[in-house]
Symmetry: D2
Subunit: 311 residues, 4 copies
């Protein structure tokens, strides 16, 4: 299906449930998709960072896209990450996920090899030239160690190379520059500006963002959809209250902050533990080499859910 | 073939020559291998950073290993990088390169997702358990944004998980800690400590390193083999003079430092331009999205070769 | 005078005009203060980063505080930075600026020597114990290379060590955590949460921040005071328009982005050039070793002023 | 006295002993100086990072220089750090330490405000123009978050702005570039290249460094002087053994690596505990806000001393 221009509302990065032996648990994945769709989301983003895309083998990635696309049957747009180090490898993922039915691809700056704005621009130009579907830039400096410069993004938007931006940089001032440019420049139309910053969705929408891609929406899609609606209707006081409830819920990502594991193990472990506690997925396991949460840490996830009224 | 324990001498990270349309140029690759073997190297490391492994598609990676392994026919050990973000994806590369005949695999810390020492250890343990050949850790913080802690490396060496270290961190004090530990701890035997720092090979060997993996050895294998020999024979004055000649030659990596491209485009572009100028490979092109050197920049590469007596 | 609890409204970090031989230009400084007071600001922050505090000698720092305090004569609170590397040196600055009449001191985390949350807490406890006036924490990771953890700030607020936070981190999600904690924790009262992020003041105030400390308010105090008022009255649409006008004006900080100088030379040079063009200060010179703007770059600052309706 | 050109041998960064109430303990300081001179050092560097210069108030800094200069009475050159954020503040320290008798000043790149190579060069030019004694550049990226570029250092050496370099970057490849440039460029004479990397002194001297400034030489000056002598006589095997003994001793800097304090608290705390255990200084206290070592951690320092034959 065609992706709306712009894409609006909540478009969650869909977690990838795994079986105990760490294969994709398709029934759990489809239950999760139903849970999200039931919550009112406007699209699905598979194979993003919250999806553990970096941890999924090529066959697993393909299975995720095929399963979700088939299940959605055109009901909502399915965006797919094509996460890899450089242009040639990303091109192969673009080919794979579009063959599997993705409606758009989401692509980061190059990583591993150091990069440069001229190389980033070249990267997106080559990919867009080869992709049968729109290309959305994925700004995630915590992962790729480069910030997408606002002027590069806007220049590529004006040239029709990029169809949108998913900004997970946490830098709202730079994000605003893209939002304003996309609004005010006459040479840019239909460009979707999406924020991945789950703690400041209200602020991003107030600035004029089109939509949100919050990892925590896996756990509480209804909350984020409610937040989006309150922002759209200009009810900023209630929006703020809803956002603050979600911020408190987000505290779950720190349950593993004991020095025993890294932030990814803790955050993705907490999301999956929460989905398991809520009965959405069968098994909370995360991919290797992430360290599993302890029973006590899972219990603390449960308390976060209870406080937020989700258990 | 079995990799010697320890592996010693010069083991260059082999560049990957490409055709003008950016496919692997196998005849040029094999000429490059002959050039290296003729220079006296003691092993070959394919699919490392200097090999543009981050830029090669899976099929290209496989072709490189198969071609080099078949050509070498057991004459020298062939180490292969299995460069990817996380354990499950690295495991697939380990399976591919060992099926293609690699004698050892070279593996970095996880990247993209943030990581933690406990996760790094877990990563190597899972990979070593699955690998049919020895696993060598690849410490390259500039690419993966994590430094392998010396105590983690030594602990994994003692447990038989790691067979060696290729250190491209540039941190000789930390490198020395691994060298000393590998020498002095009674629970560690046959562990190969290799430096990738092409400008301080003499210092690393003086500290007790077993061997060197210098990218610049593609351009001047004879020089690095000579340097290794001088160090082994304790002729430190002539070793230093040879190393300084190579340091001057290494200046070629900055020919593109004009603000127009990143460091990878400049350095790998210079190595390939030099190999082309020396008649070893047919085409100096680098993979996308790297920016090509200009004719004037290539001319400056030529001057570096001339000064070093290589043209 | 007593600093209000909380401190609200616009509290600009006051630029320090210099003479051509780089001494403090007191008449220009007082004209700048009048310009700010006339614009409706609610307090003055001298010796902050925008004040070039890092570039001012001790005698110059003292002269700034004395001159401004005497000129204000208790009309508005005067906050003073006590910017130095470690506790003992900061204590000396605290003594100096409070002797000169400052109503509160603003203190960063330790820098130069690496630091740790336990050391940061210790730092603030020792300083607060010795300071005759309230201590406000200054979170500026770009300068000190440490982010003040929200839980440390809130813990020190609860213990009465800190009276407020000036957040120049650009991380609105972390800022929100302090805002929410200061609002919701029963053990914290009268704590002032101020943002230094001049491009997202509307968002910070919408989250519940008490006030703003925008460097650009030197150039356009009326604009920032208007923005603050619109936010307080809940007129978010007009607030956003005013903020966007100020964001465009802020573009002046990049006039020196030619590769010839660093960001501080460009940004502080632009602020001072703008104040000079607006007739507020006599001389736009910045302190050594900052590189001066060229006439052409100053002309571009003028264009920014003209577009914003300030010339 | 005139500083030799080049300055050679071991020039330790002298620790600053404090009394229990954290004032400079002059008798202990002079005993430490005697301990170092008795060990055979060739100069003294006061007010460096290991001296806790960042933690000393201006009066304390002055007292240190005056006390050491008077005690040495021209016997050995006394270099003094002039550590502060920017040119004007460094100029005041230069004036103070040279008035107190320092024979050379040691100056870092600007910090706190971001900087740029052009600003760094300007910084050193202004300082050298005003300094009555030679200026030595201090490359310490861990503290100032900028690496001094080799070409900037060499250019300033050729212009007579800089008289030497103290390199604490840990980057031996870049260090070698300065060593080689200082040796080979005809426009540079009498430039002193000193390494601060206490774990690779042998390697630095083998590359052609003139001398060493190791913090650990406070604890074991005899060992470092022996190491320097072995290197100068070309006895590389015994040099390596001595260096390795010192590397093991250096392990004391990690006694506080428990998560309870930062690296500075641990390393400087260990040096001072060792000096106290060896009977050189009266009190091992470090400056605020550093966290003190526990009795158990001090005991582990003692074990390091015992293993190294120093107790």
């Amino acid at each position: 299906m065609t992706v709306p221009t712009p894409l609006t509302g909540v478009v969650p990065p869909v977690c990838t449930p795994l079986t105990p032996d760490r294969e994709v648990d398709v029934p759990s994945l489809l239950r999760l998709v139903d849970h999200l769709v039931g919550g009112g989301v406007r699209g699905l983003f598979v194979l993003g960072s919250s999806s553990e895309a970096a941890f999924l083998r090529d066959g697993q990635r393909r299975l995720v896209v095929e399963s979700v696309v088939a299940h959605m049957a055109g009901q909502l747009p399915v965006l797919a990450g094509a996460i890899d180090m450089t242009t040639p490898r990303v091109l192969d993922h673009v080919a794979a996920v579009t063959a599997a039915g993705a409606d758009a691809v989401v692509v980061t700056a190059p990583f591993y090899a150091g990069t440069h704005p001229a190389e980033i621009a070249r990267h997106y130009r080559v990919i867009a030239a080869a992709s049968p579907v729109p290309v959305i830039a994925y700004d995630i400096p915590a992962a790729v160690h480069t910030k997408l410069p606002a002027d590069v993004v806007l220049g590529l938007a004006a040239d029709g190379v990029l169809a949108g931006l998913k900004d997970s940089s946490g830098d709202l001032a730079a994000f605003r520059e893209v939002v304003s440019g996309a609004r005010n420049r006459s040479d840019i139309t239909g460009f979707s500006v999406l924020t991945g910053s789950e703690l400041v969705i209200d602020a991003a929408l107030a600035m004029g963002a089109d939509g949100a891609v919050p990892g925590l929406a896996n756990v509480d899609p209804h909350g984020y959809v409610r937040l989006d609606g309150l922002c759209r209707s200009g009810d900023w006081d209630r929006a703020r209250a809803e956002q603050e409830r979600l911020c408190a819920l987000f505290g779950m990502v720190r349950v593993g902050d004991s020095g025993r594991m890294g932030g990814s193990s803790s955050a993705l472990g907490a999301f999956k533990a929460a989905l398991h506690l809520r009965g959405v997925i069968d098994c909370p396991v995360t991919a290797e080499p992430q360290v599993p949460l302890s029973p006590e840490e899972v219990e603390r996830v449960g308390k976060h859910l209870a406080t937020a009224g989700l258990l």
